[in-house]
């Protein structure tokens, strides 16, 4: 356990643990992310999140599913350290020896968030450049990351020359170049057309299997959450809390056949049912 063990006020008030993955307390080994009693209240007084308890095991693919404004993106930003919780603790594990330019967290935003003035290669280089990692090793890693997302031939293109799906791939490569343990993805494929989204879903699953990353994937699509993840966490409307949790036990590797299977449809129905109150509550509020 490392950075930010005491980030925010460590007041653990009223920890609701009913929905939490029942793991022996203190058994932190193998945990990538651990949230305890985390809340986020904006300056405007709006309670956006929590209290939230969440354990994510190293190597797990978790989907955070919920209606817009349920604080799932906020949860991701808290884990990334881009914002501080109003209360509670956020712990993120570090693994292995840190080489220069390594970073424990990779973040993929809803928009590609690329620097328009830089080539694909320079965009992917950014995290290494900021860590002052240069030279042959850095170049090799950039090549590898571009290769992983299938953009080796587009290294010298500028973002405006790429399609939406390709821009998202660049964003993914930039997150992978630091070889992070944890990949945080904030509705990364929401703006893409369906065919492109399916393709990227499959590529992401392949990467996850090959690279053994922990992935926390925020989405508002039931289908996407079931297709991708091992565990779907359904969040309630603002302030976001864990409403239900599902283990998607379908075997890996999943492919297009899984998308049309009865098993998949069954999970989707269950998750949809669990999600419905979140929307009803939102409308009635």
């Amino acid at each position: 356990m490392g950075r930010g063990a005491t980030r925010g006020a460590a007041a653990l008030n009223n920890v609701k643990s009913a929905m939490v993955d029942s793991r022996a307390p203190g058994a932190n080994a193998g945990l990538a992310v651990r949230l305890r009693g985390v809340t986020k209240i904006y300056d405007s007084g709006v309670a956006a999140l929590g209290p939230l308890d969440l354990d994510v095991v190293s190597g797990e693919f978790v989907a955070l599913l919920g209606p817009s404004g349920c604080g799932k993106s906020t949860a991701l930003r808290l884990i990334a350290g881009l914002a501080a919780p109003s209360a509670g603790t956020v712990e993120v594990s570090h693994h292995g020896a840190q080489r220069r330019g390594s970073h424990s967290i990779g973040f993929v935003f809803q928009e590609p968030t690329l620097m328009p003035w830089a080539t694909v290669r320079d965009n992917v280089r950014l995290p290494l450049k900021l860590a002052r990692a240069t030279g042959g090793d850095a170049e090799t890693r950039i090549d590898a990351a571009l290769d992983q997302v299938g953009l080796a031939d587009f290294a010298r293109a500028y973002p405006r020359e790429l399609s939406g799906g390709m821009k998202m791939r660049v964003s993914l490569a930039r997150a992978l170049v630091t070889d992070p343990d944890i990949l945080l993805m904030d509705e990364p494929f929401a703006a893409l057309d369906e065919i492109t989204r399916f393709r990227l879903n499959n590529d992401l699953l392949a990467l996850w299997r090959d690279l053994h990353k922990t992935v926390i994937f925020v989405t508002h699509s039931v289908f996407e959450s079931v297709y991708l993840s091992q565990r779907v966490i359904v969040m309630t409307a603002r302030p976001g809390r864990i409403g239900a949790e599902f283990r998607i036990t379908s075997p890996e590797p999943r492919g297009e056949a899984f998308r049309t299977s009865a098993e998949y449809a069954g999970f989707c129905r269950e998750v949809s049912n669990a999600l419905a109150p979140s929307y009803a509550g939102q409308a009635g509020a």
Binding site: T113, M115, W117, A131, Y158
Partner: protein
């Protein structure tokens, strides 16, 4: 690329210019207007050639002043915007005065500057005062319009303040800065001219504006027109050069520099 439409766009203003000049020449001849009232275009051209020695020297002086004022404005404007970006306190303390300096007509400030400063310095300061504000406000706007998520990404990867400035804020602000510089180029010429006019006959300088004032006193109207023509051309060239620089720097990535079809 070269459609009939483009050709019309190119030719139309040239036709208007030619027609205007012919009309002008015709009126001067038809009504036998004296050169000290209104010189004909041909006479202006002749004067330009005959007086080239004097005029070119003046042109050089005005251009040099403009250039000095422009660089002072560019450096001052960008530096001030960077300072404001680093410290809100500094911005709150100084920005109102930058606005006051901008909204007070330069023609009213110039005589005062000429009292307290050496003439050459005063002229450059004039050019600076009118030209620095667009650079300052545009750069400020650019530095503040950085993508929020990109800023978050820099934060995530532990970028230092300097790295954020060099690799994120300045590139993001570049299109805005260049827009400010394009305005500043023309304005610094105006500033230089205003100061020269204000210095007037008392001045020891001999820039183009000084030539215009001097020729006016001597009723050398053709030379006034010739000097005016040169000033106008100088302004066009300055604008064109800055637009070219802007295009070359932005053409690979910024919307403003991309063709309509891409």
């Amino acid at each position: 690329m070269k459609s009939p439409h483009d050709l019309v766009r190119l030719i139309a203003p040239v036709v208007v210019l030619a027609a205007g000049l012919v009309l002008w020449e015709a009126i001067v001849r038809a009504y036998d207007i004296q050169p000290y009232v209104l010189p004909s275009p041909l006479l202006v051209l002749k004067t330009l050639v005959n007086d080239w020695g004097v005029l070119s020297q003046s042109l050089g002086i005005t251009l040099l002043t403009t250039l000095e004022g422009f660089f002072a404005a560019a450096i001052g404007g960008i530096a001030l915007a960077l300072l404001f970006n680093q410290s809100k306190w500094l911005e709150y303390s100084l920005f109102p005065y930058a606005v006051i300096l901008q909204v007070t007509p330069i023609i009213a400030i110039a005589p005062l500057l000429l009292i307290y400063l050496e003439q050459q310095t005063a002229v450059i300061v004039c050019a600076w005062i009118v030209a620095f504000f667009p650079v300052l406000s545009n750069t400020t706007l650019g530095l503040n319009s950085v993508d929020r998520n990109l800023a978050g990404l820099f934060q995530l990867y532990g970028a230092s303040k300097l790295q954020t400035l060099l690799f994120l804020k300045l590139p993001a602000a570049l299109p805005y800065i260049l827009g400010g510089l394009r305005i500043a180029g023309g304005l610094s010429l105006i500033g230089a001219v205003v100061a020269e006019i204000a210095a007037g006959s008392a001045g020891a300088g001999s820039g183009l504006a000084f030539r215009i004032a001097e020729s006016g006193y001597r009723l050398n109207i053709p030379r006034m027109f010739a000097a005016l023509l040169l000033l106008s051309l100088a302004g066009i060239v300055i604008y064109g050069l800055l637009a070219l620089v802007s295009h070359l720097l932005l053409r690979r990535w910024h919307e403003s520099a991309l063709g309509k079809e891409s």
